[in-house]
């Protein structure tokens, strides 16, 4: 790993200023970035730690919305997001306990790994990503594998989730990496159902709109019977073919509806 200067600001403003520097990068829990730096796939000259910033960690509930600070760990969400049980369960199923004690929601979303869990919850809930400069709707945030709408140096300070009437995340575990081989997040709101799929598409997390229409009319696993997902554009690797992943999407969506209903 190349060396760098470590800075640990105590406010978002200081962090944003430090991130303006050449080759400066934010450090959340480091559970993705540190392994990446060891491989020299990232070599920032300044690392700006966000975990010491008061106000960027924690879970709060207000009316129908749950807000999670951008530097909140997966373990804290699992423990404190009881107002949105499907989200708490998703966070509690990420990686392993040591990863959950360090990894953060902001880091997971900024990274947008095509097999990560959180992107499906954010897209499946129509959540809002709050940054130091603006608010970004989930539908505008994810921009393909490992790519997001974030600008250089922009900091995710919080994520705001509207709490649904019913929801479930079903993860088909890839047991070696502990990421999702495929995962489906289903959430039912008064104005319709959202279905977001992770781990399957070469374009990263996406909404399965045919299933959303069918489930908005009839929120039951049977409503999906006539639907199928094309294998075009699905990920094929040694863990599963595109056809296998396409098949899993429907199976997992049915399971999610049954678990949520």
């Amino acid at each position: 790993m190349h060396n760098f200067d470590f800075v640990s600001p105590s406010t978002v403003e200081e962090a944003a200023a430090a991130l303006q520097g050449d080759e400066a990068q934010a450090l959340g829990g480091g559970q993705t970035l540190i392994p990446t730096m060891k491989q020299r796939l990232a070599a920032p000259t300044t690392l700006v730690s966000l975990t010491g910033i008061a106000g960027m960690s924690g879970v709060s509930s207000d009316g129908g919305a749950l807000t999670i600070g951008g530097a909140t760990t997966h373990a804290t969400v699992a423990d404190q997001a009881g107002a949105y049980p499907a989200l708490a369960a998703l966070a509690g199923g990420i990686g392993d306990p040591a990863v959950r004690n360090r990894g953060t929601i902001g880091g997971s979303l900024a990274n947008n790994d095509p097999s990560a869990c959180y992107p499906s919850a954010v897209l499946g809930s129509g959540a809002t990503v709050v940054t130091n400069t603006r608010e970004i709707a989930a539908d505008d945030f994810f921009d393909g594998m490992f790519t997001t709408a974030l600008d250089e140096g922009e900091i995710i300070t919080a994520v705001r989730f509207p709490v649904p009437q019913a929801a479930s995340y079903q993860k088909f575990l890839q047991p070696a990496s502990r990421f999702a081989l495929t995962g489906v997040f289903v959430a039912q709101y008064a104005d319709g159902v959202r279905v977001a799929v992770t781990g399957a598409s070469e374009g990263g997390v996406f909404r399965w709109s045919e299933a959303e229409a069918a489930l908005s009319a009839d929120f039951s696993a049977g409503a999906l019977d006539g639907l199928s997902v094309s294998a075009d554009g699905m990920i094929g690797d040694l863990h599963g073919t595109p056809e296998y992943r396409a098949h899993l999407i429907k199976v997992l969506t049915k399971r999610a509806v049954s678990a949520a209903a």
């Binding site: 790993m1 190349h2 060396n3 760098f4 200067d5 470590f6 640990s8 450090l27 480091g30 559970q31 540190i34 392994p35 730096m37 060891k38 690392l47 730690s49 975990t51 373990a75 990686g95 392993d96 306990p97 040591a98 990863v99 004690n101 360090r102 502990r178």
Partner: protein
């Protein structure tokens, strides 16, 4: 280089570290505390698990600078004051929870973190909690038994001690 100070197993310690110095390197090379093992260095195996402010973390996936001022507990801190093995360590010995012993420091630290929050875990809860701790030797069975025993529970399939 900067001097980084933290509390390790109850004593305040200081050592020089670069930005890139991992907590695992700080402990092993900076302080000479080699109880914490580095198995993979890629965040997968859990041999390097220590507690930082009471929480289990992979010390190969945290910078020493991030632990400045923190309370760190390593496997060296698990023994009793007189140097005899602590309850969890003793249970690993009694129930043959190790063979080569490489994974053991991480296993013991993960077990300690689990038992702190959940003093009487079920077998399923133990296996779930050890998701990030890989053992190449034991097949896990005796590790699970050791943790059942350390938590004062009946040990499945144990051969009664004389």
């Amino acid at each position: 280089m900067a001097t980084i100070t933290m509390t390790v197993n109850g004593s305040e310690v200081s050592a020089e570290a670069e930005g890139r110095t991992l907590l695992s390197q700080y402990l092993r090379e900076g302080l000479g505390m080699t109880g914490t093992h580095v198995g993979c260095d890629t965040s997968q195996c859990g041999a390097c698990v220590v507690h930082v402010n009471g929480q289990a973390v992979k010390s190969c996936t945290m910078f020493a600078a991030e632990a400045a001022g923190a309370e760190v507990t390593t496997v060296e801190g698990m023994a009793n004051a007189d140097g005899s093995l602590g309850v969890i360590q003793q249970a690993f010995q009694d129930h043959h929870g190790l063979q080569c012993g490489f994974c053991t420091p991480g296993m013991v630290m993960s077990a300690a973190a689990l038992l702190k929050d959940n003093p009487k875990p079920t077998e399923a809860e133990i296996r779930d909690y050890l998701e990030g701790n890989i053992c190449r030797c034991t097949g896990y069975q005796n590790i699970v038994r050791a943790i059942m025993a350390a938590s004062g529970q009946e040990v499945p399939g144990a051969i009664a001690a004389e």
